[in-house]
């Protein structure tokens, strides 16, 4: 009986430690170093990538840049939901900005 209880306690401690290590690893992925969810950290790094891509093509909209700034602020406050929301807007607006490069030139009238 005792052995069983000890085993359970060791396993519990182990999974707690794994949990901490896991979230620390994810925390290392985001700029604030705070504990965001994995989804939030991924969304943020996606947005950073896409915004940089648009900037490199001189096609970055102020709305994309602004949303990314809001996502980064939310990351500092460890607000995963807000990070995901703003990062999604940043990515969407950055993609639209790059798609605009393919629009036809306006014709003079």
């Amino acid at each position: 009986m005792n052995v069983f209880r000890v085993a359970v306690r060791i396993m519990a401690a182990g999974s707690v430690l794994l949990g901490i290590a896991g979230s620390a690893a994810h925390a290392a992925e985001n700029t604030a170093g705070a504990a965001l969810t994995a989804d939030a950290a991924q969304a943020l790094s996606n947005a950073v990538f896409v915004v940089d891509l648009a900037k490199g093509k001189s096609a970055l909209w102020t709305t994309a840049a602004g949303a990314l700034a809001q996502a980064q602020d939310a990351a500092k406050k460890q607000d995963s939901a807000a990070v995901i929301k703003h990062a999604a807007t940043a990515s969407e607006q950055a993609f639209l900005g790059m798609a605009q490069l393919g629009y036809p030139l306006t014709v003079d009238h």
Partner: protein, 277 residues
């Protein structure tokens, strides 16, 4: 027979050479003629007044400010920058023909060696670095802004006279033309959509100015605070207004844009450091 072939091939070469200049000149004439057709009562020389050409009230306000410009002190700061010798004793006036008088209308020019457009502000910086000084940042209105606010006035009255010669220059001109006609920002506007196709129409409460004439009157001291805007700072502000993150002031895109944009103003008189609301 030989003579005929010789004459025909000479004419052929002339046509090719003429064609190199023909495209920009065709563009300019077509844009100017469109304004003349829509507003025959506005004189060509008055295109430099832009939106003011459509509103006698706004023009009167402008004239009133221009009699005693409140920003004269800023232009004097610029004069001091221009006249102060470099550490090696040379001056800006030594870098330009005629001591810097009547040179601005030739800019932007295309430098065949570097294969790049050179704006007047870049020429000012080239003068600095050639004489052992560090270049000014193009976006810094307190250094480059003030310097050019004075230096450009030395060419007041000169007609814009931008040249596009050779295929590399033409490529830069075409890049600027493309920029002018490309939709940008979340609001999806192109420069041409307003300033070629909707000249004289009212957007919100402002008349849309015609493209020919726009590049002649910079820097401008704008609004109640008389904030100093170089032409490229104005490009950045316009881009921001249509929700495009501004590009680099003094960078290649804005330089090519200024090359095309200034060509459209060829034949119009320059006047620097004016008021705009």
């Amino acid at each position: 027979m030989k003579q005929l072939i010789w004459i025909l091939s000479c004419l052929g070469w002339l046509a090719v050479a003429a064609n190199a200049q023909a495209a920009p000149e065709d563009d300019r004439l077509s844009v100017v003629k469109a304004v003349q057709k829509k507003y025959p009562e506005i004189k060509f020389e008055d295109y430099v007044h832009g939106a003011l050409a459509f509103s006698p009230d706004a023009k009167a306000q402008y004239d009133a400010v221009m009699t005693f410009p409140p920003y004269d002190a800023e232009i004097e700061k610029g004069a001091k920058l221009w006249e102060t010798p470099f550490k090696n004793g040379k001056r800006y006036a030594d870098c330009f023909p005629r001591g810097g008088k009547n040179v601005v209308g030739n800019y932007p020019m295309f430098d065949a060696a570097s294969k790049k457009v050179v704006t007047f502000e870049m020429a000012l910086n080239q003068c600095r670095t050639a004489n052992g000084e560090t270049a000014y940042k193009h976006s810094d209105m307190n250094t480059m802004g003030l310097l050019t606010a004075y230096a450009r006035t030395l060419s007041d009255g000169m007609k814009m006279n931008v040249k596009v010669e050779g295929k590399d220059a033409l490529a830069a001109y075409e890049a600027g033309k493309r920029f002018f006609h490309q939709r940008r920002g979340q609001l999806n506007f192109s420069c041409a959509g307003c300033h070629i196709s909707n000249v004289g129409n009212v957007l919100r409460t402002e008349y849309l100015s015609m493209a020919p004439g726009q590049a002649t009157h910079w820097p401008a001291f704008r609004g109640g605070d008389y904030t100093l805007f170089t032409l490229q700072r104005r490009y950045a502000a316009c881009n921001q207004m249509v929700r495009l993150a501004p590009l680099e002031i003094g960078g290649e895109e804005y330089n090519n844009l200024e090359y095309y944009h200034s060509y459209l103003s060829n034949g119009l008189p320059l006047q620097a450091s004016v008021f705009r609301k």
